[in-house]
């Protein structure tokens, strides 16, 4: 009898806990599912309440429209070019800097980076617009890449400094005693064991650029329009072409969802650097 009661209580607890987890998961998944299915519906179906959640006739018109009539293929390429190039260049400049900041304990540099991360982007955007329109560089990939580097570099240096600090210094000291130069030691010993950190900060930098709206809004144009900027053109006054806009939204968010599913562990690591350690 007592054993039975214990079992029932345990089962009850598990059911309750599963309920709690569902309360957390459903508010995230249901909106995403709703947007996904709405992107396969026409205007009338989108507006139909109660909504048809499972059995409806999916149509591809919205997707055909955004790729054929609009230039979503080009926008995807533009976004990818800017995200990949700004990440690569930020790594090139930021990772060595992070290494010496960690090794030589350059505390001031660290404070400067934190300040740069907390800075309101818009307070540097106005001068950018001014300078780059004088240089006739608005609507070029160069200006988008440079501006996104300003956002990703502090992030990369911040994450990698934390990562390098945790690598025991003895590892290098032995090599240096053996006559290895510091830069070779960095290239041959430190970088290979830093892959997890590099994956973390590259992912976050790529996503930050892919999602960036504010800089691209001012600094891009018809030739270099990126995905987030393209989204706003579906809204004109009160009239929103939902189906098409949601298809475009799906195009913007699917890569980020896929990356998150593959690299969750690394992303979580990057998000907690500095926040917990203090």
């Amino acid at each position: 009898m007592a054993v039975n009661q214990y079992k029932i209580r345990k089962l009850l607890k598990q059911v309750l806990f599963a309920g709690l987890v569902l309360i957390i998961v459903i508010p995230v998944l249901f909106p995403l599912y709703f947007v996904l299915i709405s992107s396969f519906k026409n205007m009338a179906q989108v507006y139909l309440m109660p909504p048809k959640l499972i059995r409806f006739q999916p149509i591809l018109d919205n997707y055909i429209y955004i790729f054929k009539t609009q230039h979503y293929g080009t926008y995807i390429t533009n976004s990818a070019i800017v995200a990949v190039a700004s990440t690569a260049l930020s790594l090139l400049l930021g990772v060595p800097a992070a290494y010496v900041i960690a090794r030589y304990k350059m505390g001031k540099a660290n404070t400067a980076i934190l300040t740069a991360r907390l800075l309101p982007n818009i307070s540097i955007l106005l001068p950018y617009y001014f300078i780059f329109s004088k240089l006739r560089m608005i609507d070029t990939f160069a200006v988008l890449i440079i501006s996104h580097m300003v956002l990703s570099m502090p992030l990369i240096v911040w994450i990698m400094t934390g990562f390098f600090q945790d690598i025991p210094i003895e590892l290098e000291e032995a090599a240096i005693v053996d006559g290895c130069s510091r830069q070779r030691c960095f290239k041959d010993i430190i970088l290979p064991i830093s892959t997890p950190g590099l994956v973390t900060c590259s992912t976050l930098s790529f996503l930050g650029s892919w999602n960036n709206f504010q800089f691209a809004l001012i600094l891009s144009g018809e030739k270099t329009r990126t995905l987030p900027v393209s989204l706003q053109y579906f809204v004109s006054g009160a009239d929103i072409r939902w189906g098409r806009m949601l298809a475009a939204t799906i195009v913007v968010i699917v890569p980020t969802i896929v990356l998150t599913m593959i690299l969750q562990k690394y992303i979580v690591q990057g998000m907690t650097v500095g926040a917990v350690k203090g």
Binding site: F17, L20, V21, V25, V28, P31, L32, F34, S38, V46, L48, M49, P51, L93, P96, A97, Y99, V100, A109, A112, L114, A116, L118, L119, P120, N121, I122, S123, I124, L126, P127, Y128, F130, S147, V150, M153, Q183, F186, W210, N211, Q214, L227, P228, L231, Q232, F234, I240, W242, L246, T249, V252, I253, T256, T260, I267, V268, M271, A275, V276, G278
Partner: protein
């Protein structure tokens, strides 16, 4: 070749850090200085006249106008609402996910999804749910007997509605940081409390929460600063409307520059915004250091 190698080896500290430092100086310190200079000048692009130094008149004008204070009040209201919601929800979710259960990693990934998405996409998504006549949320509201809401199209409800979308997207950040904080807690005090017969609720409020103070302060202030300067979500949903009811400082400065081309006045607002964020950031670092001293890290 050999010479270059020895040179780098000797001066590695600067060879490695200078390119990044120079880039950041050129791209951040220089523009901020330019904004400061702009802010001290009368400068309207539409008038076609150049910059004219006007002895801080912009600051007087901005600070004495009611529009600025209204915008600041909206910003503080929006930021407080979203930050408090994110913190409470974030801590609650982190406590649930801190348990060990099957499929925990999958759940963590799902929770993380909104945070990784473009804010502009999240804003437009929520506009679909907020659609006043035939949107999903009003359908749910009427089904359960609640009155319909105008959400983002009414002055009273616009800020809470945008704050809800912001909370939906950014709570994962709080969850992840709290989870990391929880897993790094020492187990002894919590075990001791259990042995002493404390209920889980007592343990949470009297043991876990005090141990988490530092983490919670850091993430809370970081979230506050982030929301304070956020732009994309509000721009996507209302562009500051209706009747400027959701025009935060960031949007106000943007509008002044790129709709009215008053670069001088806009720069003044941006400088004020910059100083507020800077003061908040200094606060973050100071409090963090104090707490580290107090709790011994």
């Amino acid at each position: 070749m050999k010479k270059i190698d020895t040179f780098i080896n000797k001066h590695i500290k600067w060879v490695f850090s200078l390119p990044a430092l120079i880039f950041m100086l050129a791209m951040i310190a220089v523009p901020i200085t330019m904004t400061l200079v702009f802010s001290l000048n009368e400068w309207n692009l539409l008038m076609g006249t150049g910059m004219k130094f006007n002895w801080g008149k912009n600051y007087m004008d901005v600070l004495s106008g009611s529009e600025f204070w209204q915008s600041l009040a909206i910003t503080v209201y929006y930021t407080t609402l979203a930050t408090v919601a994110e913190m409470l929800l974030g801590i609650a979710i982190a406590l649930v996910l801190n348990q060990n259960f099957r499929g925990k990693n999958v759940v963590k990934t799902i929770v993380l999804l909104p945070y990784m998405m473009a804010p502009i996409a999240v804003g437009l998504m929520w506009m679909l749910f907020y659609e006043p006549s035939s949107g999903l949320l009003n359908y749910i509201f009427t089904s359960v007997g609640l009155p319909r809401s105008a959400f983002v199209s009414a002055k009273q409800t616009v800020i809470p509605s945008i704050a809800a979308a912001e909370t939906w997207q950014m709570t994962p950040m709080v969850v992840i940081v709290c989870l990391a904080g929880l897993s790094s807690l020492p187990l002894d005090p919590i075990e001791a409390a259990k042995v002493d017969g404390a209920t889980p609720i007592q343990t949470f409020f009297q043991v876990t929460l005090p141990l988490m103070t530092q983490t919670l302060f850091s993430i809370g202030l970081l979230r506050f600063i982030d929301v304070f300067k956020s732009f994309d979500l509000i721009y996507a949903m209302t562009k500051g409307g209706p009747a400027n009811a959701s025009r935060t400082l960031n949007l106000f400065a943007y509008e002044t520059a790129f709709s009215y081309y008053k670069f001088g006045t806009s720069s003044t607002m941006l400088m004020i915004l910059f100083v507020i964020v800077l003061l908040l950031s200094v606060g973050v670092m100071k409090i963090q250091r104090k707490l580290v001293e107090y709790y011994g890290g």
